[in-house]
């Protein structure tokens, strides 16, 4: 049986001119495969960068969300809320949570308040965790010459500002504040600009006091602050679309939020007023709040290659008490409903499939011509005792030979490109080798599959040639 693949290889070598087009087609397909996989293995950089810049890290820890996952039973139970006032931003979404508690499946753990210090302590030992950045916030009003707007006051520590996580590139006007600048802020438009506030202008910010019972916000005892805007920033359209699709907020048109009538309403997409953590704590103290509430905790990883491993380790440590998310990857964008990256990816996949189909057709055509012109040789093989099964092996070997040689030729430049990509990344060499091996496995697997499927007709033709073909005139 071994002789037929050997014979096929010699045949291909003897017909190098004839198989050149087929080799080129297959090598282009293999190269396309590597290019497709290499690009797809990442995620839209701009999209992810916005999430990083806004959140301050690659892994986000929220309170509660995972605990809504149903358990094995269908019955639910009411549980009292045990969080601190304005704890974890949740009252903003669920204003009745402190007074009425919440509904949960019996098997699920308690809905814990998000204590950034506790969590930071728990995950500190996990390899790859570079920093944990708390996201402190409180509801507020902003009053300008244009009206009154509901907003979120958010703290951000300038010490954590780095090139990778900088808000600076999303500034549309003015500048980012610096450490020690107590009044400089950045109103975030996010599609809902606060009218009447421009960089350099001052405005009034109204912060509520804590209510009489835990979890309450007392809007009758507000504290007013006068702040100056250092600049304004906006996230890109893709992020807004993803955030909007993910939350289903249904933002009102016109870019303005109506002035609140009776305290903040349930609304996600309201503007944030970002101040330094130092200023935030100072304002909280004046308004009567103790420890500021933490909405989420952002975790930075030492290397992006460790992202998933670190996220898994954090989930294991936190044991389901909190929800842990990583920066969005393609699958999440698909869920979020942003159509552009998905469409581009799908088009590339369709083109890759078409490239392989075309290369398969060219290979089949070339091998069919070779067989048609070698009918006498097939007859001779039959005369010396080759069965139709052995002829099939011979023809499949011809097709596989073209596909494997062509794939190898295409993989070489493809992997060179991948290597260059790796040089510019912080991934370990094992990640490159693993990806390269996977490329080769998929390319060769596709070669075998296409040969077996598309070669069937050629094989059927060749294996039915009678041995009397040996009697035809001409060279073998």
């Amino acid at each position: 049986m071994l002789d037929f693949p050997l014979l096929a290889l010699r045949e291909l070598r003897a017909n190098s001119t004839r198989v050149t087009a087929a080799l080129i087609a297959v090598s282009v397909a293999a190269f396309s495969l590597v290019a497709y996989r290499a690009v797809l293995s990442g995620y839209p950089q701009g999209f992810a960068q916005e999430i990083r810049a806004l959140a301050g890290g690659e892994i986000l820890i929220f309170c509660g969300i995972d605990l809504l996952t149903p358990g094995s039973g269908l019955e639910m139970e009411w549980r009292p809320w045990k969080g601190r006032p304005w704890q974890s931003y949740l009252e903003y979404y669920l204003p009745d949570l402190p007074s009425r508690g919440y509904l949960a499946f019996p098997e699920t753990p308690e809905w814990s308040p998000l204590d950034p210090e506790d969590i930071a302590r728990e995950i500190r030992g996990i390899p790859g965790v570079a920093a944990t950045i708390p996201y402190y916030s409180l509801p507020c009003y902003v009053e300008t010459s244009e009206g009154r707007f509901e907003a979120i006051l958010r703290a951000r520590n300038p010490a954590f500002e780095t090139d990778l996580y900088s808000m600076a590139e999303y500034l549309t006007d003015g500048r980012l504040w610096h450490e020690g600048e107590e009044e400089a802020i950045v109103p975030i438009s996010q599609g809902k600009a606060i009218a009447g506030v421009r960089a350099g202008e001052t405005f009034r910010l109204v912060l509520p006091a804590p209510g009489a019972t835990p979890g309450e916000v007392d809007w009758t005892r507000c504290v007013e602050f006068t702040l100056r805007s250092s600049g304004e920033y906006d996230m890109s359209k893709s992020l807004r679309e993803a955030a909007g699709a993910g939350n289903g907020a249904g933002a009102p048109a016109g870019g303005r939020v109506p002035a609140p009538q009776d305290g903040p309403t349930f609304e996600w997409n309201r503007p944030e007023i970002m101040v330094t953590e130092q200023v935030f704590r100072s304002m909280c103290t004046r308004a009567g709040w103790g420890e500021p509430a933490c909405y989420q905790l952002a975790v930075r990883v030492e290397k992006m290659a460790m992202l998933n491993a670190v996220a898994r380790a954090i989930r294991a440590v936190l044991r389901g008490r909190y929800a842990v998310f990583t920066v969005p990857e393609l699958g999440e964008i698909r869920v979020a409903g942003s159509p552009v990256p998905v469409a581009i990816s799908d088009i590339r996949l369709v083109m890759l499939v078409l490239t392989y189909a075309l290369s398969g057709t060219i290979v089949c055509g070339s091998v069919y011509i070779m067989i048609s012109q070698s009918r006498r040789k097939i007859g001779l093989l039959r005369v010396v005792g080759a069965t139709s099964r052995q002829i099939a092996v011979y023809v499949y070997s011809l097709m596989l030979g073209v596909f494997l040689i062509g794939s190898t030729i295409g993989l070489v430049p493809g992997e060179c490109l991948r290597f260059l990509d790796w040089l510019g990344s912080d991934l370990p060499i094992s990640a490159f080798l693993k990806a390269a091996l996977a490329d080769a496995g998929i390319a060769f697997g596709a070669a075998v599959a296409i040969s077996l499927v598309m070669g069937t007709l050629v094989v059927a033709f060749a294996s039915r040639l009678p041995c009397a073909e040996v009697l035809a005139r001409g060279q073998v």
Partner: protein, 227 residues
């Protein structure tokens, strides 16, 4: 069991009709029995049916009427793959135009039928080496057919036919493409394998000068055995 039953190959009333124009009978009611160790020379002019008879005896072609029986097996009841397996083991072919596989060396051409038959490599080496020696091709083992003379190519073809130690060798005008000296050398090789090894041959030739090599001469004229 009588001698008739011991025959290597028998053909009964074999007729081959080609429906071309008014129709042509290439063979008509041919009856032939070949016994082990015979050297049969099928002699006749061009168009007498020698090649057609050899092809039918080798299972390459099917008769329009009649039956070929080899080792008790009727060709008419065998599939193409059954015939291929029979040829692999029991039949060797030598053609006028050599029909070597151009991508394989002399050594590989001779070894090819052994390899596809699954003969162990050590035995292949032994058999091919022995044949190359007897065919005086030791120095040409690694040459491709295009690098060999006509006589050398025919000797390689003979080696390929003999390698599986078949019961019967069918040679169709094996000297037709060779000069007279080389042709005699080829016939002497056949006789050598016939006399020393008891190998059975059916050789088709239009030249009566080769009758001296045969143990039996069968003369064909217009598709019929006349003598």
């Amino acid at each position: 069991m009588d001698r008739y039953e011991n025959a290597i190959i028998r053909c009964h009333e074999v007729t081959k009709f080609y429906p071309v124009g008014d129709g042509v009978f290439a063979l008509q009611n041919v009856h032939l029995v070949v016994y082990p160790g015979e050297f049969v020379l099928l002699e006749g002019p061009s168009g007498s049916g020698k090649t057609t008879l050899l092809n039918i005896l080798g299972g390459i072609d099917r008769p329009s009427h009649g039956e070929v029986i080899m080792k008790g097996r009727k060709f008419s009841r065998m599939s193409e793959d059954d015939l291929a397996l029979l040829r692999r083991k029991d039949l060797g072919f030598v053609f006028q135009f050599f029909n070597l596989i151009p991508e394989l060396t002399a050594w590989e051409n001779i070894a090819f039928p052994l390899r596809i038959a699954g003969v162990p490599p050590s035995e292949i080496h032994e058999r091919v080496g022995s044949l190359l020696s007897r065919l005086h091709l030791e120095g040409r083992a690694n040459h491709y057919p295009i690098e060999l003379s006509g006589g050398e190519q025919q000797r390689v073809a003979i080696g390929r036919a003999l390698a599986p130690k078949p019961s019967l060798i069918l040679a169709d005008e094996p000297t037709g493409n060779l000069d007279s000296k080389t042709a005699r050398e080829v016939m002497e090789l056949f006789r050598d394998f016939n006399q020393r090894d008891g190998q059975t041959f059916i050789v088709a030739s239009h030249a009566s000068e080769f009758e001296q090599y045969a143990t039996r001469v069968v003369k064909l004229r217009d598709g019929r055995i006349v003598e």
